[in-house]
Amino acid sequence: MSGNQKIRNFAKSIPGGSSFDLVARKLTYHMFYKNHLRNNLISEEKLLVLGTVARSGTHYAMLLLTNYINSLAGSDNPIGPAEMNDILPNNWHLNYMSYHKLPLGPLVQSNPKRPSELVRYLQLDEITRSHSLFQSTYWRKSQILHLYRNPLDYAVSLFNYKHKKRSDLPDRCRDPHQVLELKFDNYCDMYNSYRDAAKTGKYRILRISYENLIQNPTFYLSSIVTWLGNEPNQELVRRAVESSSINRVQRAEKMGGAVNPDAKDLKGSFISSGQIGQWKNYFTLEDFNRWNLRFRERGIELDSFILE
């Protein structure tokens, strides 16, 4: 356990210590984060964060957006994973605010790379991403696009992507059931933090399910562009969707373009089939009902998701 974690745990254990985390966040927001963004020429309002549940279309959304702005810039060439990562090179929790390193820091793992000028086609200064819980202190003024996925397919996808391929993982799971067990609390906390933030009306947040995004990418890319205060060019939206297809990405991967260069130990493709309803290959109706009860205890209705 890190020193920072020990301090946070100690603070939680003493009377009144639960506010310690909030104080640390407020202080770092005012004393570090705002200036850090300003020094990197980023206005908080013009920062778009893809705050997503893992395996829920983060990179697909990035690819759609980069292909769209690339077309707006007049290019006819489709963007692949490598170019996408050049245009959007930063992780919010690594390059802008390592909130999990509070209170002692370091508050960023490394300084952000300069975002591509292309993002200005969407009236933005930066598009970055994070698989963190909703950050009410740091994201109060920013644009937050949240992608999530039905938790059963999330478990299957995470199993296929990570646990099946990496035998060296210390917490390696042998099937999606174990993955869901391992990630249950994290998934619930993530999902609820964004859902609750959306319900308040205090934050600029747009939630889109992975299932809806992949079933209707043209509609949803257009909606994201509109939400950001722009008028979408429908022809370019269609072209961006075409350029971001799974087949094209897999071809680009084979030619050496990594979708997620941070996933260093990944073997094979970053993407699987992306299909909805893969959970049915692993979970029985009985399993479904059991998980449904557990999720319900956390305020989440499993059958409200798009399951097939």
Binding site: Q123, Q143, A198, G201, L206, N212, G229
Partner: protein, 290 residues
Amino acid sequence: MSVVRRIISWGLLKLIPSDALSRILFDLKLLLSGLKKSELLILATITKTGTHYLRFLIAYYIEMLSLKRMGSNYYIESDDFIVDNYFPNSWHTSYTFIRPRKKSTHLLKLIGLKDFPRSHMKLRKYAWSNVKVLHTYRDLHDQAMVSWHTKYACDAVLKEEISGPEDLYKQNKKDNLGQLESFKNLETNNINHLRISFGQIFNDPANSLALILQWLGEEPDMELCSLAADLAQKTPSILVGGGEKWHRDNRDHIDYKMLNSFIENNRATGAIGVGGVLASQLADKAESKC
């Protein structure tokens, strides 16, 4: 009582900036009504850009969702007046003490809300802080043409006030552009606002409804989104961007033959692009002036 309220409001507006005054009145109204800001969804639209289309979609959705959850038959009939009964309030009157606030349908709780008032105005940065605001818009030339045909040309009284679509466009341009631009601005903090174009609603009503529900923090039931979209097709006036109560009702001074002719001629396209001629005329005039 209504006259007294109007006089008081008029007097106060002379003393306090409109946004600040409406914030005070809004907060007071919420307090007296026992409502939280998070329980409201304000539908702030440019007129004739899908206000009523969205109201119908949401009304049908919550009605069917309620029945589905109860295990009842949720295949309902269309109802041209469902929105008037379900969502009776306008924000600019019911939340500023100009008119009494009426009770909206309790079914709104199914999507985490208690009221769904509407208004045609710019984004109110101060008054609407911490509120969810849904904004619809469309090409302003199309808007002027639809407005002319569905509000003025068919109304014996109003027709005398405006000479035609061009006049209407010019008269409303500043206000409509102000509304349009205010919702494009990303620098508005503390308000979660969603822009949605009439074209999106018209071309894909089911997904537009699903988008709104996700944005509100709900999981959309896609079957019900599709059914709501189907039911909405049964009210033709909303399909071109209209749908005011008197479009669905009967009023003495309205030429319904003329109104319905415009609606029928344009329901297949949503009247999208109908303002092209007007835009060309205005461009030609601007060029000849140069």
